[in-house]
Every structure is written in C-alpha cells, then in structure tokens.
Subunit: 363 residues, 2 copies
C-alpha cells in the first residue's frame, strides 16, 4: 500500500525536491539541500544566505529566501556547530539549588537576560544540594557542549570539572567558592553579612541569639554560621550550643526547630535565620507562639512581602540580580578570550532595618 501524498509534503524524487499539496503530518524537516534544490542553487549558497554571509547576488538571495519560506526551513544548529571550527553551541548551562526558589530564580533570570542579548539559550537544572544530581547535570551539559556553565555547587571537591574547563568550557561558581579548582566565582559576603546581622542584635543588648542554619555541608551555610560566631566573639557573648540549629532543609524543619527553642526553659531573645526558607519558618513559629513582638528576628536573604508583615522583617539582603549578571558577564568574558587570573567577586549585602530585628531583649 502506498501512503497518500498530502499538501506540504516534501517529495524527494530523483534528487529533485518538490512540494506536494495536502496537509500531512510528521513530515521530515526540510534540510539545506531541499532548499538548495527548490531554489536551484548550490548548497553553499543557501548556507551563505541563511547565515547572512556576504557575497551572494540579490537575485539568488531572493530565490533562496523564498524557497526557505516555502518549505518552512529551520536550520539545524547542532549540525552546523559540529562542523564549525571552534564549535560553539551558543548555549549556557545553569545549575541551581532549585529553579523554584526565589533566590535561584532571580539568579537564573539575570543570567538569561545577559545570554539572551547574545542570542544564547540557557539550560537550567535543580540540584537540591545533592552532589550526584550536580554531577549528572554537569555530565549532561558537557555532553551537550555548553559554552559556559554557571553553578551553585552542592559538591565539595570540584576537581572533576577540570577536564571540562580544559576542554574550553567557561565555568563560574555562584554563591560558593570553588575547592580544588581554579575558576571565577561570584559570592555574597556571607560571613560579614551574617556578622552584621548578629552584631545588629547584639547592639540592642541581645545575648541569647539563636542561629538557624541550612545544611552544614553547604559552604555558604558554614560561612554564615562562622559570621554568627565572629559577631558573638567580637561582643564577648557566650554561645549556647543549644541555640545553634543546623541542617534545616525547609521552612517546616525551621519552624519546628524554632518552636522547640521557644518552648525550652531558657528561650532565645532573638533569632538569626540564615536563609530565606528558614526565615519563613521562624516567622511562622513566632506567630504560633504569639511572640513575634517580643522575640527579635533578622533573616539572611530578603523575602517577598517581608516589609508588610507585623512586625516587618529585618533582613540582610543579597543582590541576586547583580550576582547573576556579574556571573554571566564573567562567563562571556572568558568565552571571548579573557585569560586573566581567576577571581572571586564578592557582592556586599545590605542590612534592611524594618522592625523585627529592632525588638529589644526582655520584652
């Protein structure tokens, strides 16, 4: 049985390409050869027109464009990249903690904007602090030959990226510094920002300040933890280990931990919540305990609507758009041949005083 020939079908008969009438489905995509045949020009002429190379007569340009439109031709980028010398794919890989987390999403968008200006497409993936997922994503992106990779790394030993770097993949670390690997990085000043937050509470007279932190395995979480100790030590305030909770993976865990502290014999007079989801958990706990006006709270990383809560939440804000933009620019600079020594770019944080962090102790 011979299947029907329907409109729009590409017919290749004796090397001649023609267009049928009908409205078939699942046609093969037309190739440059098809366009060349229909326009009755050489393959290379089509390539020149499609890529905007000079040196094609207006007449042939018109014929090629007309044929391309007729066939609804869309070039195959992968095929071109394969042969092209230097073989850029015009893609970037972005590896985030979670594309749905507001901080990650803001980074993503900033990177996308820089990339879009160069017509570079962006792969994104979520790692959830799982080093295996990170490696899987890196392997995939490498197999796709992304020109650049922006990573918020979950892993510790980053030397497995060396081969990719040497193969010409530009790499930038975001939010965390690289270990055992020489690449650029853009990070918030986690330690100093945290010390500032805690110092702010200490300045109001707080001494029993709880620290709620993310996975201790995560470098940025450790730095924020260290900032807490820095400030406490600078004020000669003793650290009560029972007020230090780490490894809180989401708002729920943070809420429970905060509740436990509030219900203990000698509760904290203030909280330092070292991450956005943790801040949300602490806010919920304070509400449940109806202590939001008596126990102080400073969060690290800003939270939407934090200014409209009662009391409004004081935070140390990061600047994810600036971080993402800088990271993308570094990536493109390296791709463009920048061979200068790698650097770690530190983006300062901002203390935003709103109310929750200014509640005095013993109220």
């Amino acid at each position: 049985m011979i299947s029907a020939i329907s409109k729009g079908m590409i017919l290749r008969v004796n090397g001649q390409t023609t267009l049928s009438e009908g409205d078939g489905a699942d046609l093969p995509r037309p190739t440059m050869r098809d366009v060349a045949a229909l326009a009755r020009v050489g393959l290379k002429t089509v390539s020149r027109v499609i890529n905007g190379e000079p040196g094609v007569s207006l007449e042939l340009q018109a014929r090629v464009r007309h044929a391309a439109r007729q066939l609804d031709y869309h070039p195959n980028l992968a095929a071109g990249q394969l042969r092209r010398i230097g073989g850029r794919t015009a893609t970037l890989g972005v590896i985030l903690e979670d594309v749905a987390n507001p901080f990650s999403a803001a980074l993503h968008r900033a990177i996308e904007d820089v990339a879009a200006a160069r017509n570079v497409d962006v792969f994104a993936g979520s790692v959830e602090e799982n080093p295996d997922r990170e490696r899987r994503l890196v392997a995939n992106f490498a197999a796709r030959r992304v020109d650049g990779l922006a990573v918020v790394p979950a892993s510790h030993d980053h030397s497995y990226l060396l081969a990719h770097k040497q193969a010409g993949m530009a790499i930038v670390f975001i939010d965390r510094r690289p270990d055992f690997l020489d690449v650029d990085a853009v990070v918030s000043n986690h330690r100093q920002g945290s010390a500032r937050a805690v110092g702010h509470l200490l300045g109001l007279g707080h001494r029993r300040i709880a620290f709620l932190g993310d996975l201790a395995a995560v470098q940025s979480a450790r730095e924020r933890h260290a900032g807490y100790f820095d400030a406490m030590a600078a004020a000669a305030a003793p650290v009560d280990p029972s007020l230090v909770c780490q490894d809180l993976r989401d708002s729920g865990a943070a809420e429970s931990a905060a509740m436990r502290l509030l219900e203990a014999d000698s509760p904290p007079s203030a909280f330092f919540a070292s991450q956005n989801l943790i801040t949300i958990g602490v806010i919920r706990a304070l509400r449940r305990a109806e202590l939001q006006d008596r126990v102080a709270l400073v969060g690290f990383d800003d939270v939407v609507l934090a200014d409209l809560l009662d009391p409004p939440v004081t935070v140390v804000a990061q600047d994810p758009r600036k971080i993402g933009t800088r990271a993308a620019e570094l990536l493109f600079a390296r791709m463009d041949g920048d061979r200068s020594p790698t650097r770690c770019h530190v983006i300062e944080t901002t203390l935003i005083v709103r109310g929750s962090g200014e509640i005095p102790p013993g109220r």
Copy 2:
C-alpha cells in the same frame, strides 16, 4: 617554534592516539576515535560500549572503558542525534512569562522533575508577554530540535507553530488555550475561579467590587476578567467601569491603580486582584491607605506569606505543580506515540479563605 607537550594532551600522530604527560590547557575534547585508537578497537566497538549496547566481549568492554576514563571522554550528544534515526535530542524547551515569577518558576520545576526522570534536559526562557520574544525563543528551540515544547504563549495566532508540530515537535500550551492550532493544553479554570472569588465578595454584600487585571491582550487575563463579569451579572450587580483597571504589568502599576481607586469619590468596598503581582500591589496600597481592615481583597493565584499578613489574604489558588506535571506528562505521551485527539485539561482552582476576603462592606 614548537609548543610544549604537556601532561594529559591528546597526541594524534600517524593516526595513533597517545596520552602525553603534563597539564596542558585547552586540549581538544577526545572523540570516540581517540578512545578507539587508545583501546586498540574499532570505532563501532566504542560506540557499543558507551551506549550500553550488547554484544561486546568483557575484555574489550574493559579496554574501552579504561581508555575512555584515561582520556576523560565525554560523548558528543549532538553528533549522535544527527545520525540517529528519528533523531531525538532528549531536550525540552520551556517558554514562560518570567522564570523568576513564582508561578512560572513552580511550573518550571514541575516540568524539570518529569523531564529529569527521563534524563531529558530543559531549556527555559522568559517572554514577558512579548510575542516577538516568544517567536525568537521558539525559533531557537526549533533550531535546536527540542523534542517537546511547553509554552505559556504571549502571542495570539499560534499557527506559526504548525510546521514545528508537523515536523514532530510535541507541543503543549500552559495557562492559555491555543488559537488556530491543534495542540494539547493545561489551564487553570480562570473564568470559574475568578467568578468564585467575586461571588464570594458578592455573597458578603459587596457591590462596588474593583477588578484589577493584567494585560487585556493576554488570554488568561481576559478570562479572569470575564469571570468577574459573570459573577457580577449572576448577582445582578451593576459594573462600574471606573472600577475596572486592566493592563497592569507589575506590582507598582497595580499599587498606583488601587491607590487611585481608594482616593476617588466613591471608592470600592472590595478588590479582586486577578494575578499574584497585582495582589501584592493592592496589599501595599491598602496598607498605605490604612484601609486593609476595611476594604476586602481576594487575589487570584497564591502568594508566599499571604497567610501571615494582617489581615491574611484570601486567594483563589492555582496548582502550578499539578499544571506543570500534567503538561510534561502530555508532552512525553505524545513523544511516545500517543495520537489521540488533543485535549484541553482544566485544573480547578481552590478558594482559600483567610480573612481579607471576608471583610464586610461599609466597615
């Protein structure tokens, strides 16, 4: 001058591939040929081992794997896809309003999770309701031969996607129904959800209910607008056109519009904010006017921390995770050969009563 040969360099001499000592930078990536040469086997044998095809002796498998590891070989997916019959790229394109918007980001994450389970990588891009950006992204993703495309469309006439669909690209629309194109869609019940929100306010006795909406050019915004009229008509409540504001593109615009309404001669007794950013704008306006306890508010789409505001914000919640998951599953079903008629899947919304929507009129 002859450049130094350093460790790890791939040397191709007389067709023989060997490994040098040193720590060179910018090596060419090893190819299957290099692995084959080092392992002293045929090219196809390497291909079989890398792709896990059966029928290779254990001995040769070991030799190939060892050589691959030694060279830090990473296969080039694009090259494989080019020759492979049916040519799947194992990629998806996701076109969103803004990857940083919480609703879009939640969709994105849900799609990513379904894709990751199949080891499919995801391109994402933001359109900002600009049809030109949509077309540019679609063209790029088509040029990259994504197997599937999930779009929150900004454009109106979607027939330009027909050629891609016919070329075998699976397509699903999210949040909006396709016009002039036969593809699957997954949408919230915008109209009924909005009618329910407005009906809720009418049930409390409100008659002067303001509608604040997104770009009227956007289909989902129009449906929410229609839902408002449905409910008003059902209650035989007159619509005051001065209480209907559209084309609000961000929280700031929504805040100004709400302020203007509140300061007018006969202000509304309730607001229906038909989108998450608009809801935030209205909340800010009500706070500024100190009317948050006197003017009711129901929002469409939930907002983080809405439950902790004073008063807590009543919303009609969408289920972005469910929408995204369903959309991705439809995409994969089509790729797997599902030829059943296309459908528009409607995901119901949920009214979450929290307080702001239960403020009676004339308070």
